[in-house]
């Protein structure tokens, strides 16, 4: 049996698209038939919960009862993958808390698979945070995600500075999330459904919807690229070694 996996999705500032990434992850594991649960730390609003109400719970990751809810159930929960959408600015403190409760230690021992998705904003400020988080992560799989979903321009980073930070984390991998057409993006927000449902033209209850074919096509193409990135970094190997990989977005969408 695969050991439980925890994926932390975080950033140091808001508005860089953490929830977007968490949503694509939930869709991705859904498509791979991997039971997944999610925790949304943006209490009390919970953007992630709006899109994936069935699997998402809103928690306060700094409170001990909620920490118990998440981490004490890792072995017993039906879901093999736990995705935690960490609120802006809480990434370092969450990692600190995880370190305090010995979670990072058990990840090191290989009892738990631990991965961090660090979403980078388009400014240099968030790079400085990498230095701060680097000391906690140890053996976790660390992914630096360049999120271009809402971008109008390219990242304006000095490559030398970027690389000096990037190298601080051993084995860190880069993931690039491409841009998605604004109108397509907006329509999925309005619809409040998972990306896969939008592609499959279904509403939140799984009933046939009436989304624009062109917009669905854009989302499908984009999601395919995002999943391609997840495939490239062998995300499924990380959470469960024996998963059928022949699925693509279309099959997932049904």
């Amino acid at each position: 049996m695969a050991r439980p996996a925890v994926i932390l999705v975080g950033a140091d500032k808001g508005g860089v698209g953490k929830t977007t990434i968490a949503r694509t992850l939930l869709d991705y594991f859904g498509a791979h038939n991997t039971p997944t649960r999610a925790f949304d730390t943006e209490s009390p609003r919970g953007t992630l919960k709006r899109f994936h109400p069935g699997v998402t719970e809103v928690v306060d990751v700094t409170s001990i009862p909620d920490q118990m809810k998440i981490f004490d159930t890792l072995g017993s929960a039906e879901a093999k993958v736990t995705v935690i959408d960490v609120r802006a600015g809480l990434l370092s403190s969450t990692l600190q808390a995880l370190s305090d409760i010995g979670f990072i230690e058990s990840a090191k021992k290989g009892q738990i698979t631990f991965a961090v998705f660090h979403i980078l904003g388009p400014s240099i400020a968030s790079l400085e945070e990498i230095a701060e988080t680097a000391r906690f992560v140890g053996d976790a799989s660390y992914f630096l995600v360049k999120n271009h979903i809402n971008d109008t321009s390219f990242f304006e980073w000095d490559p030398a500075t970027y690389n000096s930070y990037f190298k601080q984390i051993k084995g860190a991998e880069e993931i690039t999330i491409p841009k998605l057409n604004e109108m397509a993006c907006e329509q999925v927000e309005v619809a409040s459904v998972p990306y896969v449902s939008f592609v499959a033209n279904k509403n939140g209850k799984g009933e046939p919807a009436n989304f624009s074919f062109v917009l669905r096509g854009y989302v499908r193409h984009w999601l395919g690229q995002v999943w391609g990135e997840f495939d490239r970094v062998k995300l499924t190997d990380l959470v469960a070694p024996k998963i059928e990989k022949e699925k693509n977005v279309r099959q997932a969408a049904g």
Binding site: N181, M183, S212, F213, V214, L215, Y218, R220, H221, R250
Partner: protein, 238 residues
């Protein structure tokens, strides 16, 4: 089961190879077959198709997403309408790139709409490359190469690798030179023989025209059967 409707895209990356004439002939062919027909003109400029079919033609542009939605969402709408797209050469690349990305032909098939591309063969490299790229980009569409004989006899031999369902070339025979001025002046309709009389087309010219049309429509009827066959094959496979 016959297909409920089809979407035919008349395309070539080259200008002035007879796309609009083909589109006009197709529209009138389907009208004569008793189908409801809508046309979409992606040529920038004078709106040639609209001059002949002011009521059926929608001027389309796919430069922005609104235009893309207006066109593609309409093309795959299940409204029992046969749709003809006159794809201007400048939109060729962007149209098929987008169509491939958003899965246009697959979606059409899923909705019982048969997608087809009429590709006018010319011997240049751009066209040969474009034809090959179509096979990859929209494999679910019936690809029908067209030989417009007015362009000369050596348009494709030895240059195109005509494979699969597109192996049969649709021939557009040469129209006698004296007739062209009649059909190129709007209003004119291949479907309305009374119009010819009204426009004072001499009887011998009109007979020649009808003879030509019969040959063209025979080619189209065969093409229609091939599209139908492809549609059946794909529904068996699904």
């Amino acid at each position: 089961m016959s297909f409920r409707s089809s979407v035919t895209i008349v395309a070539s990356p080259r200008p002035r190879v007879g796309k609009t004439l083909l589109a006009r002939l197709l529209i009138d062919f389907h009208v004569l077959e008793g189908r409801s027909v809508a046309a979409f003109d992606l040529n920038s400029g004078e709106g040639r198709l609209a001059q002949f079919f002011p009521e059926r033609t929608t001027a389309s542009a796919i430069g922005d997403i609104k235009g893309q939605m207006a066109l593609f969402d309409r093309l795959i709408a299940a409204d029992d309408t046969t749709k003809i797209v006159d794809l201007g050469h400048e939109s060729f690349e962007s149209f098929f790139k987008l169509a491939g990305q958003i899965g246009f032909a697959e979606e059409a098939r899923r909705r019982g709409i048969a997608p087809a591309v009429l590709f006018v063969l010319t011997p240049d490299r751009t066209s040969v490359e474009a034809y090959r790229s179509l096979c990859e980009r929209v494999p679910q569409a019936t690809l029908a190469p067209v030989h417009n004989e007015i362009l000369g006899p050596t348009q494709y031999r030895g240059k195109y690798d005509l494979i699969g369902g597109g192996a049969v070339v649709v021939r557009l025979p040469v129209l006698a030179p004296g007739l062209r001025k009649y059909i190129e002046t709007p209003p004119f309709s291949f479907a309305d023989s009374k119009l010819a009389a009204k426009l004072d087309v001499p009887i011998d010219i009109n007979m020649e025209l009808q003879r030509w049309l019969r040959r063209v429509f025979l080619e189209f009827r065969e093409l229609d059967l091939r599209i139908l066959l492809a549609d059946l094959q794909s529904s068996i496979r699904l």
